[in-house]
Subunit: 335 residues, 2 copies
């Protein structure tokens, strides 16, 4: 039987690089228990050394394959690599899809690679909060390169990929119209562009399109410290992987040693503060909905109330919205 180990006690084991402690603390970050928060707060203060790489792309772009290949190649250069993969999941069943995990079993045999699949469950902001906690846990456990892989649909998923030092956006040739439309929203966050499946004949078109869009400044704000490269890769013959690893290494310097990098780290901190606060706020709100929501919803269903006044009533019941100063002022007058 497993004995419960306090989260704070796990921190030291994480510092010693114990894989089991890493796994347990990430699980607690996912669940988001109060008990774990003190430990995660300590982890945060200990972290900050690893190079964090966000990799994102639309469904079908082949980013999972790329992440696998990339991790293998980097390992050959003696990096210790952590991978945090955010799975799409049913909003109803809450279950994660095992696809990525299965695909990565080969990698999982290597003790220098740690892979964690995370479900996108729970309250808004919860996924981002937990994923970034997981990155810190791996950081403290001694992983010097950490990849966050997310599917490039959904605002949170995209922003998580950007909450890194270096963001890689993966495109692929020959995707349909609707996919391309979604893609438009993620191109602009790239520090490095990858066009996968370059063994295909239509890949050249995708490469050229991206380069032209970059040249006319359609996608990125001008950056004095960095010119965004476009790299063609292919999983068939490992084409382009070395170029990609080199581009990532070069961008690491920009991330850690320039003013642009500092500004980026500040915006990541803003994002993280926001998501953590949103998550705490909405947890509190959830409890209030469970307590006060039912009668208000019934009134709404019968159109005896409108959504705005019902929502205001719910918030009033949820939070101490009345200003204490006002209330005290009134009680002073009454005295």
């Amino acid at each position: 039987m497993k004995r419960f180990v306090p989260s704070l006690a796990l921190v030291e084991r994480v510092q010693n690089g114990e894989a089991a402690a890493v796994a347990r603390l990430i699980s607690r970050a996912e669940t988001g228990t109060d008990e774990a928060r003190t430990a995660l707060a300590r982890i945060y203060k200990l972290a900050g050394r690893a190079h964090v790489i966000g990799i994102t792309g639309v469904p079908g772009s082949g980013k999972s394959t790329l992440v696998g290949k990339l991790a293998q190649k980097m390992r050959a250069r003696a990096h210790k690599i952590g991978i945090v993969a955010i799975d799409p999941s049913s909003p109803y069943s809450g279950g994660a899809i095992l696809g990525d995990r299965i695909r990565m079993t080969e990698l999982a045999m290597d003790p220098g690679i740690y892979i964690r699949s995370m479900a996108t469950r729970g309250a808004i902001g919860g996924m981002a909060r937990a994923a970034l906690d997981a990155v810190d846990i791996l950081d403290v456990a001694g992983f010097d390169t950490i990849i966050i892989e997310t599917v490039g649909v959904g605002q949170d998923e995209v922003e998580i990929a950007r909450a890194s030092h270096t963001t890689v956006v993966v495109s692929a040739p020959g995707l349909g119209d609707e996919i391309q439309a979604i893609k438009a929203g993620i191109l602009e966050i790239a520090d490095v562009h990858v066009v996968s499946k370059c063994d295909r004949s239509d890949a050249n078109r995708t490469l050229t399109d991206l380069k032209q869009m970059l040249m006319i400044g359609m996608m990125n704000a001008p950056n004095p410290d960095w010119t965004v490269p476009v790299i063609g890769t292919s999983a068939v013959n490992d084409q382009g992987l070395d170029d990609l690893i080199e581009a990532i290494a070069k961008h690491r310097q920009v991330a850690f040693e320039t003013e642009t990098g500092r500004a980026r780290r500040l915006s990541v901190a803003q994002f993280r503060l926001r998501k953590t606060a949103e998550n705490l706020l909405l947890e509190r709100f959830d409890r209030a909905v469970a307590k006060h929501g039912a009668p208000l919803a019934t009134k709404l269903q019968n159109r005896a109330a409108d959504p705005y006044s019902a929502a205001a009533e719910l918030l009033e019941a949820s939070f101490e919205t009345e200003d204490c100063h006002e209330q005290n002022a009134r009680s002073k007058i009454a005295r």
Copy 2:
């Protein structure tokens, strides 16, 4: 020059079915001004007659084409049809993609069809709130059938499609693995399944798969009032469209006249209450972040603070979290 018309004055014009008033009030619902809320509250109480149909499907499923064809066919049966299309949009530029709008120009020539493309912008919950306000506006303007079209990725998008009387989920043959994985999360919300592109030879496989999954009860909770049909369609020869229209009409009765339908309407009301309240709450939170966020983010960036304590501090500054009773009790003791 356009004179500002108070939102409340627009309500009467909407009731008269004036397209310009409909457009303006939907825009104000999108912006989410305080001024518009009184009007939208009134609209809500006037609405409730239209049959609301949610149509969703993964990127590439051909749902936009289907919605266009469906609206045309229904118009031949003299329905007045409103379409609210939720566009994917860049989380950074906030711009909507014009694809759907262009595709639908043909329809837009018909005065009995009103099409509105909405961007997914602003605070969390804002899109759902605005989209459902738009449905009510069209309802009050006399549209008897209203289609909400959303892409089936992202929890909010999926739930908006479910915030209807009848939900149609569109699948297509021959999509890649990653797309199929996302699809898994939306199959279970279907009242009617459509398999599009049935002119393709691999469509039979998709039809059979869906029917089998339904038969073994993998996807839906048992429903005494409704058996979920699977309908094959093709835009090439309008195959299956009449069957789909009939299935939707039959489900309308379930939605309006059975206990199952009543329970569903209650869960839609709960969703709406929740999203409206979330939106109001996060607007308030946004203002607090703008006011108090910067110094906390800097402390976080320097790892001088951890995300949890910084978030708690931010929430404290944002809301009157201190319980007034406690505060008053203390001041009584002091007296």
